[in-house]
């Protein structure tokens, strides 16, 4: 158990699906040889295939204290990167439209905005995903090289590139498929929760760039941090697939769209825009309580009262959304000694 634990909350009601977080992460961390197909941060349409395809159904994680088997996704499950033939078409006068090569057959968020049906009505929402920096990481347990470790000072899960031999047991073990194999370097890689930024007092790049201001970052064990308040005090954010047993430290405020017909007299759960079963699939049965809690706050605010949690979730400024504590976690005193 690490002494502190960084955590992130993402409010799914505010996600635009714009992928600015994805690009912020890509430019900062995965613009290298062998990393083209990797998106340490991705945003996928739900319901949907996800990235990599069917990651939520193929296995990994824990059951009864045992790691669960899983295949390693193929490059086409992630989406094979393609390039456009600008030179041939635009400069060599081939006279055909600019085309991607190889022909794209899959990709991250390939089924953008397709979603699912709720009766006669289409519904979808966006799910941004990073490594969950789990308290009980399956990847760490699966690695025979002890290349993955959880930072004692802040709970961030990192992968030591020196120790990694590219065996990919971690890729299989992670139930969220948030570890990627770099075939050029023969090493696996993962989200590092932007720890070099945190150590300088800067928030994660994905959070800093988010136009929807839906990400909250801080130490889960810091009573002043927004994540502590949202997750532990107001209890309105839940981890994804808690039954996978890894105890994620990324939490989601579930989407609680208004009722379908706009009938203010009705409860969200009476006439839901998003089928409750699907939210239960993602976040477990507790999601119902969370939605009821949020709806009660909404009712109070609509009646002219003040809701502390809704004010917090608005997240007007960076000071509200983030509480970075480089003073607490910058250097591990154990290593210093």
């Amino acid at each position: 158990m690490s002494r502190h634990q960084y955590a992130m909350v993402m409010d799914l009601n505010k996600c635009l699906g714009c992928q600015t977080c994805t690009m912020a992460c890509k430019k900062l961390w995965t613009d290298r040889d062998g990393t083209e197909y990797m998106y340490w941060n991705n945003v996928e349409t739900r319901p949907g295939m996800g990235y990599p395809r069917q990651w939520d159904a193929i296995g990994g994680g824990w059951k009864d204290g045992n790691l669960q088997p899983s295949p390693i996704p193929s490059i086409d499950d992630y989406g094979r990167p393609f390039e456009y033939d600008y030179e041939q078409r635009l400069f060599e006068g081939k006279g055909k439209p600019v085309m991607p090569t190889p022909d794209p057959i899959s990709g991250p968020n390939w089924d953008e905005d397709v979603g699912g049906m709720n009766g006669d009505d289409n519904f979808y929402f966006y799910l941004p995903r990073i490594c969950n920096h789990c308290t009980n990481p399956a990847c760490l347990a699966a690695c025979p090289r002890q290349a993955i470790y959880k930072r004692e000072e802040d709970g961030i899960v990192v992968l030591d590139q020196e120790r990694c031999q590219g065996y990919r047991y971690c890729v299989a073990a992670c139930p969220y498929k948030k570890i990627y194999f770099n075939e050029i370097m023969d090493k696996s890689e993962k989200c590092i929760f932007c720890y070099p930024r945190l150590e300088k007092g800067q928030v994660n790049a994905c959070a800093a760039q988010c136009p929807g201001r839906l990400r909250f970052v801080g130490l889960l064990d810091d009573p002043e941090s927004p994540v502590h308040k949202i997750v532990l005090v107001h209890k309105v954010a839940l981890p994804l697939f808690p039954e996978k047993g890894t105890q994620p430290n990324v939490f989601y405020v579930p989407p609680f769209n208004p009722p379908k017909r706009g009938n203010y007299g009705k409860s969200i759960l009476e006439d839901p825009r998003l089928p409750l079963e699907y939210l239960i699939y993602l976040f477990g049965p507790e999601v119902k309580d969370v939605i009821q809690r949020l709806e009660a706050e909404l009712v109070r605010a609509q009646a002219g009262g003040r809701s502390e949690i809704l004010q917090l979730l608005i997240g007007r400024d960076a000071e509200t959304r983030y509480r970075i504590r480089p003073d607490l976690v910058q250097i591990n005193p154990i290593n210093k000694a």
Binding site: Y37, Y167, E183, I184
Partner: protein, 288 residues
Amino acid sequence: MPTIRQASTLELSPLLRGTTGGFRRGVSTSPDPSLVRRGTHTHRYRFGLALLVVLSVTAATAKAASQPAGAPAVNLTVSAAASQLPADALLDPTAAAWETIASRQVALNRTPPLYDTDPPADSEISSAEVRMVRTGGKLLLRLAWKDATDDEAVIARPPATPPEQRRMKEHSEASNRFFDATAVMFPTNLSTGVVSPSLQMGDLRLPVTIYYWNAARGAMLMNAQGRGTTKRTGESFPARGVYRDGVWQVALELPAVPAGVPLAFAVWDGSQQDRDGRKYFSVWYRLQ
């Protein structure tokens, strides 16, 4: 020379397959203190009985080697004949000269599933043929084994120019493929006497040196002092492999290892997702 009992190694297989003991990784020797500090080790290794079996065979091998000529029982040796053939020519594993050199079959065992998440693998490669010859101050070795699938590839090497100065980056062509490979393991200290290191990548007292060849990534020199400690040294050595008609032939050029030294062989089958300890292995043999 006493007859070699191939069965002595083959008999291991059912025993190994039958081991389902719950040894935790913490039980095995972990020499690097930083490893101990880092890990919650939650895997179970099914290696308890296997380890005992391997140790007893190792002891038997050592005993056999120390016995006078004509002694019965297990004798696991591989001979390296002296030759005038140029080493360069023998680096071609298909060179006709290899066929003139005495061969012997080395029985291979399949490791049991190492991790709870490992799907069981069929034992498809039961043996490898070994030919060894000493020439020009080198020990040349050719390993050949039947493998129904050719798992090799050319993987781009990162260009010398840093990625940030290039418009195009090299792409990972695949995320889930593994490659055929082979290796020969020696004690790092070649004068171990009758004692062989642990077959599981040596041990603290007797570290091992591994000459590893991979059908995509080439030859790599590694060392280890126990399970989970294998390190790439960054050095390479001359080696060439050719896959033809369902058979891998791989020639390795090693330093002149003296007679009497223990050595062990391993083969990985890429299509069975072999890597790490998921492989085919021989017990310790003695070089003659």
